[in-house]
C-alpha cells in the first residue's frame, strides 16, 4: 500500500550539502537498495524519510500525502538499523508485542497479532527466548517483525546486516528479502555492500556527494552503467583512457586508440578525436599463453 515520493529534497548542515535536490519514486512493495561511499548522504536520506531529520527544502510524500506535518510516530514507518535495538529483558514474544502494548491494544488482539508475526518471521520455537540467546540475524528478524506488528509497511533499513559475519550475512539477506515479499513491505535498504544490493534489490540507487547519480535494475547498473562513477563503484573494473580515432556509422562501431592499441567497440554517437574511458569487467578479460 505505501508508495513513496521524494521531490527535490535537499538537506544542509551549515555549509555542508548532505542532500542536494534528491528525487525518487518508490513503488508499493518495491525493494530499493541505496549504495554509495561513506558520506554520500544515504543515511541522511532515510533519516529525512523517517522524520528524524527535516529536509531543508523539498517534499516527501507517502501515498501521495506530504509527511511534513505527520509526527514520526504516526508515519507508520519501520526503522531498522545496524545496532540491533531489542529490549534485552523481554522475550521474543514480548518484544514483538511491545509496540502493540504501547498503543493499548486489547490483550487477545495482541496475542493474535504476535502469534501471526512469530509464524511470519519463522520463529515460533523461539518465542520464549531472550535476544541474547539469538544470533544477530535472528535478532534483526525480530526487529523487523516488531515494526510490522505495529502496522508499519514502509521500511527503512540502515545497514541492517552490517554487524553480522560475512557468511551469515549472505544467507540472511535472502531471508530478509523473502520476508519483505511475504509481508508485502515497501523497503528502502541502505548498504555499503554492493553484492547485497545487486542480489536482492528490485532497483538500486547510487548516491555520491548528496546526489542520486543513477537508478536502475541491478543488471542494468552492473552491465550498462550510465556513468563512469557507477562503473567503477559497483563491482571491479578496468578503466582505460583513449581517443576515438575512427567511426563507422553504418556498423555503429567506433575505433578507439588506447595507448597505441586499436580497439573496435559497438559505440556510436561519438566524434573522432573525442576522449573516452572504456571499462572492462575482470570476468570479461581472457588470458592466454
Amino acid at each position: 500500500m505505501p508508495n513513496l515520493d521524494i521531490f527535490s529534497v535537499s538537506k544542509t548542515y551549515g555549509n555542508i550539502h548532505a542532500l542536494s535536490d534528491v528525487s525518487l519514486h518508490v513503488e508499493d512493495k518495491e525493494y530499493v537498495c541505496v549504495i554509495g561511499p561513506s558520506g554520500c548522504g544515504k543515511s541522511t536520506l532515510i533519516r529525512c524519510i523517517s522524520g528524524i531529520e527535516q529536509p531543508s527544502s523539498g517534499e516527501i510524500c507517502i501515498d501521495g500525502k506530504s509527511v511534513e506535518k505527520t509526527l514520526i510516530e504516526d508515519r507508520q514507518i519501520g526503522y531498522v538499523f545496524q545496532d540491533i535495538a531489542l529490549f534485552p529483558h523481554l522475550t521474543v514474544r514480548d518484544n514483538l508485542a511491545y509496540g502493540l502494548a504501547v498503543r493499548q491494544t486489547p490483550a487477545n488482539e495482541m496475542r493474535t497479532v504476535t502469534n501471526e508475526m512469530l509464524g511470519l518471521i519463522n520463529m515460533r520455537d523461539r518465542a520464549r527466548s531472550y535476544p541474547i540467546e539469538l544470533s544477530g540475524g535472528a535478532q534483526q528478524k525480530v526487529a523487523v517483525g516488531r515494526a510490522v506488528a505495529t502496522g508499519a509497511r514502509l521500511f527503512l533499513l540502515d545497514e541492517p546486516l552490517g554487524a553480522l559475519d560475512a557468511i551469515v550475512r549472505a544467507e540472511l539477506r535472502y531471508e530478509l528479502r523473502k520476508l519483505a515479499s511475504d509481508l508485502g513491505l515497501t523497503v528502502i535498504h541502505v548498504t555499503h555492500d554492493q553484492e547485497e544490493a545487486l542480489s536482492i534489490a528490485d532497483r538500486v540507487v547510487i548516491m555520491k556527494n548528496g546526489r542520486i547519480i543513477e537508478v536502475g535494475k541491478p543488471a542494468e547498473i552492473y552491465h550498462h552503467p550510465k556513468t563512469l562513477f557507477t562503473a567503477n563503484f559497483v563491482g571491479e573494473t578496468n578503466l582505460l583512457e583513449g581517443r576515438i580515432s575512427r567511426t563507422e556509422s553504418a556498423l555503429s562501431t567506433s575505433t578507439i586508440d588506447i595507448a597505441g592499441h586499436r580497439v573496435n567497440l559497438p559505440i556510436h554517437r561519438k566524434k573522432v578525436g573525442q576522449r573516452v574511458v572504456i571499462s572492462i569487467r575482470p570476468e570479461s578479460v581472457m588470458l592466454s599463453p
Partner: protein, 367 residues
C-alpha cells in the same frame, strides 16, 4: 627467525575457553589471515600476540624469546584495534605521528613519516582534520596509518577493513598487503570476510571455538579443506548426506536420498555414512546433455541471484535436495526460474567427508 610462535596456548575468560591449546608459527615477512565466525577467538589470539592479554597455559615466543610475561610495550608489535581508538583532540597527522614520536624520533622526522603514511592510506587531504570530522571508514584508515607509522615489525590488524566501504575495501586490502610486503613487515590480519582472507593471505588460519580447524595457503585450504565446517566457512558448497553403496576402482558410488553420486573413493568403506560437498562454481547447468560429466541430474531452477560478476542459481533436484551453481562466464542469465535443467559436475570435484557424529546441520552452524 619466526616473529611469533605459540605452543599449546590457552586463554580463558571465566569458564569460557577463548583460545584452546593453540600451537602455531608465523614466519618472518608472512601475511597471515585469521578467519572465523564471531566468538571463535580471533581477537583474543591477536591480543595474546600483542601482549594485551596473557595466557593461562602454554608458551608464547616473540622473535624466539619467551614472551609469556612480556608486556605490549616491549614486544615490537602494534595492535590496530577494530574500533579505531584515535586521540580525539589530536589531528589526523598528529595521531599518526604519535608512534614515531613516542619512539623518540625528532618531531620533523615523525611528521614526515606520518605524512608519507597518510599518503599510503589516501588521507593526505585530511591531515589537519580531527577524528570526529571523518567518517568511520576514514577513521579506520587513520588507525591503520598509525599502526604502520609506529615502526613495529609485527602488525596485528583486528578487522582492519570491516568499517570501510565495500568498494574502497577491495582496493585497500591489496594496498595494505603491498605496504606490508614492501616494508618487510610481518602481519596477522583478523577478518570474518573469506574473500578478503583468500585474496591477501599468504597463509590462512581458520578458527572455531578457540581451536584451529585448518591452516595453510589459501589455495590448499580451498581445494582440500580439512572439514565440513571449513568447506562451508571458506567458500561454501552444497552438501549431501549419503551412504557408500559400491566402489569401482577409484570411484565410489554414493547413494544420497535417491540420487547416486560418483565421488573419489579414497579410503571409503562400503556402507559408511558420508557427507559430500560440491563447490558452486563446479556445478554446471545446461538444457542438453553435457559432454564428459560424471554426475548429471535433473533439476528445477528455484532462485536466481544476480551478484554482478556472476549469477548464482539454486536448483531443486528430483530428490528434493538443493544444489547451488555459480556461473561467472555469462553476462545475462540464460536460465529463468522454473526452467527444467540438467545439473552436472565431475567426480573429481566432489569432496568427501566422514559423517559428523553430531549430524550435518550442527557442522554447518556458523555462530
Amino acid at each position: 627467525m619466526p616473529p611469533v610462535r605459540f605452543v599449546n596456548v590457552t586463554k580463558r575468560f571465566g569458564k569460557v575457553l577463548a583460545v584452546d591449546r593453540i600451537s602455531l608459527e608465523v614466519s618472518d615477512g608472512e601475511y597471515l589471515c585469521v578467519l572465523g565466525p564471531t566468538g571463535s577467538g580471533k581477537t583474543t589470539l591477536l591480543k595474546l600476540m600483542a601482549g594485551l592479554l596473557l595466557p593461562e597455559e602454554g608458551s608464547i615466543y616473540i622473535d624466539e624469546k619467551p614472551a609469556n610475561h612480556i608486556g605490549a610495550q616491549d614486544r615490537n608489535a602494534v595492535y590496530v584495534p577494530q574500533r579505531y581508538a584515535l586521540f580525539p583532540h589530536l589531528t589526523v597527522l598528529q595521531n599518526v605521528a604519535f608512534g614515531p614520536l613516542a619512539r623518540g624520533k625528532p618531531v620533523s622526522d615523525a611528521l614526515e613519516i606520518a605524512s608519507k603514511t597518510l599518503e599510503l592510506v589516501r588521507l593526505s587531504s585530511r591531515a589537519q582534520a580531527l577524528p570526529n570530522e571523518l567518517s568511520g571508514g576514514m577513521q579506520q584508515r587513520v588507525a591503520l596509518a598509525r599502526g604502520l607509522a609506529s615502526g613495529a615489525r609485527l602488525l596485528l590488524l583486528d578487522e582492519p577493513l570491516s568499517a570501510i566501504d565495500a568498494r574502497l575495501r577491495l582496493d585497500l586490502r591489496h594496498k595494505i598487503r603491498d605496504i606490508v610486503r614492501q616494508s618487510g613487515l610481518t602481519a596477522i590480519h583478523v577478518t570474518h570476510d573469506q574473500d578478503e582472507a583468500m585474496s591477501v593471505g599468504d597463509e590462512i588460519l581458520i578458527l572455531k571455538n578457540g581451536r584451529i580447524q585448518d591452516s595453510g595457503p589459501p589455495r590448499r585450504v580451498y581445494r582440500k579443506p580439512a572439514s565440513i565446517f571449513v568447506t562451508n566457512l571458506f567458500g561454501g558448497a552444497s552438501f549431501f548426506e549419503g551412504i557408500v553403496d559400491n566402489t569401482v576402482g577409484e570411484t565410489a558410488l554414493v547413494s544420497a536420498r535417491g540420487l547416486v553420486i560418483q565421488a573419489p573413493s579414497r579410503m571409503l568403506t562400503l556402507t559408511s555414512p558420508v557427507v559430500l560437498a560440491v563447490r558452486k562454481e563446479r556445478v554446471r547447468l545446461s538444457f542438453n546433455q553435457p559432454p564428459e560429466m560424471d554426475n548429471v541430474f535433473k533439476g528445477e531452477i528455484r532462485n536466481i541471484r544476480f551478484l554482478g560478476s556472476s549469477n548464482e542459481y539454486v536448483i531443486r533436484l528430483s530428490n528434493g535436495d538443493s544444489i547451488a551453481s555459480r556461473n561467472f562466464a555469462e553476462s545475462e542469465s540464460e536460465f529463468k526460474v522454473g526452467d527444467e535443467v540438467l545439473v552436472s559436475f565431475r567426480e573429481g570435484d566432489v569432496m568427501v567427508f566422514e559423517y559428523p557424529p553430531q549430524g550435518l546441520s550442527k557442522e554447518l552452524e556458523i555462530a
